[in-house]
Amino acid sequence: MRVLSLLTIVLALLSARDTRAQFNVMTTTTDLADLVRTIGGEFVTVDAFCKANQDPHYVQTRPSLIVKLRKADLVVAVGLDLEAGWLPLVIRGARNPKIRPGTPGHLDLSQWIEPLAIPANANASQGHLHPRGNPHYWLDPVRMAALVPHIADRLSTLDSAHTASFKGNAQAFTRKLRTKIQSWDAKMNPYRGTEVLGYHDTFTYFHACYGLKAVGTLENKPGIPPSPRHLSQVIAKAKQQRVPVIFHEAFHDKKPSGLVADRSGAILLVLPVSVGAVPGADNYIALIDNIVDQFIAAMAEHRRDD
């Protein structure tokens, strides 16, 4: 009986600690976490499921994620089925009715995105396809800028006492981001039309934003590792079209991209995909800065080599 009483007290204390917590937001990626943190400021506590250097398609549904989501007031997702393999399981396990899809506590940002690369005939023979379009839109700063007010609106809906702060932070960040977008546009403008390769189609939106032309991926099909035959074809194409750079995500196997780079003369660009993946890329603007600067440096190196 004593043990039962003690257990009851401990559980009550732990529950009480939960209720005193701040407005808790869980995001699927660190990029979204950075945006929510910037907009929410001191009034929100934000954490991300996916580590900065992790492939967001393949997040392990560790039970600790369920514990984090159990206490959340809002979950923010990229959408377009990027998290389809793991987020539903975590949401279900969390037993938190506030954040189920369709509730105000569940924010799928893809609803305001016009997706690229919607497959005409989506079926599993085409690899790991996203039937509703490529989900990697966070690497397009213009699209991300358009999402900022929607995040502020949702925070305001759920925590109306701090609406003024959320709206103010959102406007300030949007101004800062638009200034940077102009700067990035100016830096990237000389490279419009440049043909590039990628390991996976992660940078589709970045390429579209800056007029880069993707001529192929090293993966045979999305999610399928490169075969020697496919790599030979890619190498031949890279040589023939004098492709200067290969965009490579840091969490993918570097060997195939390194091989293509060695054989074709292209520069291998190992890039961060999310905030925090490399030192210095500790916020969204710094992330895009890093990608832009690395690309420009690689193009300069390629020209010198030529």
Partner: protein, 384 residues
Amino acid sequence: MKKFTLLMIVIPVLVGSTAAAQNAVGGNSNNRLNPEISVNIAALGGYTTRGDTEEEGLLERGLGVQEIELRFGADADPYFRLDIAIAGHAHAGEVAADFEEAYLSTTSLPDVIFRLGILRPAFGVASQSHTHARRFINTPLPIIHLFETDHLIGTGVSVDYLLPLPFFTELNLQSFQTRWTRSSDAHGHEESSSSEGHDDHEGHDDLAYDFSYVARLKSSFDLGDATTMELGFSGLLQADDEHHWRESAGADFRIKWVPPSSARYTSLEWLTEYMTANRSDARRDGVYSGIRYQVDQQWWFQARGALLDINPSTETQTYRAETLVAFAPSERTALRLHYGFEHTFETHHEEEGEHSDHGKGRSPVHEVFLQFIVSVGSHPAHAY
């Protein structure tokens, strides 16, 4: 035969629906209201020196289908979700299909999930795995022998409660009833069979009921960004309608290492389960321990050892050693080669209460299986 008919009706309907659902994705968004539908097929080829396989779906030699699983699930409304899994097996030349799971679960209650329907027991780790998701092709040795006469899938209720602790701790409580056929031969000897029973024996069949009560407590702790440790304790109490009680208990321990930056390329899992079961005639126990190491995106190497009847006072002891190599061309297909070696020793009781280790061994069993798993449609993610 009824089960076979059910399978034959359900397969074309669901496969047709799957194709329709797939074609609809990305098109008419209204079709996203369709249930998630998937089909998993485990085809098997192999050879074993065992006289008779103890497990549904495993074959003595040649080629066969180990299991066809049809699964569909969807939210029914804002409050409930329906999940159904139907499994078809071939065993000893007969094909049968039955519900593996079919339950309604709550979706809108804080901290708890209630389930109502046909449930699998939340006992340990391996007993909750579906065939295509098992770490090895066969069931761990202790589970086959300790629970071979039990009826572990039944109709009932369960509650899964997530305790308000800073680390993951879940309490599962289940109660379910299983209907089965108690067959007696012409001499009055009793045997149990599946719910449909046999038609070709002399004697008589009686419907019997088992009532099962399951409790499981599972905790999980993160040991850094890559490593997770899980501990679980399970208890199972069963009684039939003649008040014969059976008690089982188990403990499991798992360490999983998945570095986030290379989660698709390398991982390591070590799982150990111990279980014990009291039956009317004896107490038996067993343990198995296995590791699974992913060496790159498509290749896994695994090894497992098991010991049945750890208690040296039992008449026999059995150990099994197994190894498996898996190649997964994509997320939806896998080819797995499994080799197992099993040996049973008869222990001698030279005098009452005295045990000798000089038991004579029965012929060892060697078995090799090659399994091909295919999954199509929208299959829900498996738990961590």
